[in-house]
Amino acid sequence: MIAVFFSYFALMSIAAAVMTVALKNPVHCGLALLALLLHVSGFFVLLNAEFLWAVQVIVYAGAILVLYLFVLMLLNLKTDERYFHSTYLYFLTPAVLGSLYVIYLLLHSPFAGAKGDAPVVAVLQDGDTAAIGIKMFSDYLLQFEIVGVFLLGAIIGAIVLAKTPKPLNLRKD
């Protein structure tokens, strides 16, 4: 059953990513990105990460994507852009071959390591949200505060950048 859902999410997210990169109209690209984000959130459910699923749907699909669509509608972009820069064709074949090699290596290497302190049974007992909360406000408290300061700086920076510039009041005296 998990394999069926996994293959559905994998196929749909890869198709949506290809459409995001390949479609001509930027609004269609944004909608394909929405499909990609929702299918990626499906992976999180398969991996027992329900809190991240909710954050992905609310923050990514709800806030970030709406921001992109707002700016797209605001700018009313033309769609007559070129796809390929002439020199990029020389890089494309090595890039595709290299990525196929990386995928081959990934499929053939064993991923094993020291197990952590959060086995699936213990996480499922109180739920993923409780486990994340306890970990975040004990071991990762400093990083949490840093992210808060970072977001404050990003808000102020975005407002300052996007503000309509006032014409300079040149005094004539």
Partner: protein, 100 residues
């Protein structure tokens, strides 16, 4: 139980697609969207390893990545608006003011 490499392979494919989008597309907004694809690929990787190695650290780092992606989108789109006001274009080829 699926092998971990299945998730890692999907994440690698998504990352390569996003990288190609950054290299190929000329529209600055689509370039930012491709960066979001790459961040999502990294998130899948982190959560998959967090599940299979039974540690909570991967999910927490994925949460921080989502927060940083939000900040990056806000700043990037503000820069796009500033540039668009001066040039009436979002083509990355025309943004060469800081090039020497």
């Amino acid at each position: 139980m699926l092998p971990l490499s299945a998730y890692v392979a999907v994440s690698a494919i998504l990352f390569v697609i996003g990288l190609l989008g950054v290299l190929i597309r000329r529209n600055f907004i689509i370039v930012l969207m491709s960066v979001e694809i790459m961040l999502n690929a990294a998130n899948i990787n982190l959560v998959a390893f967090s599940h299979y190695l039974e540690s909570m650290a991967g999910q927490l780092v994925a949460l921080f990545i989502i927060a940083i992606a939000a900040g990056e989108a806000a700043i990037g789109l503000a820069i796009i608006i500033v540039v668009f006001r001066g040039k009436l274009s979002t083509n990355v080829d025309e943004m060469n003011l800081l090039k020497w």
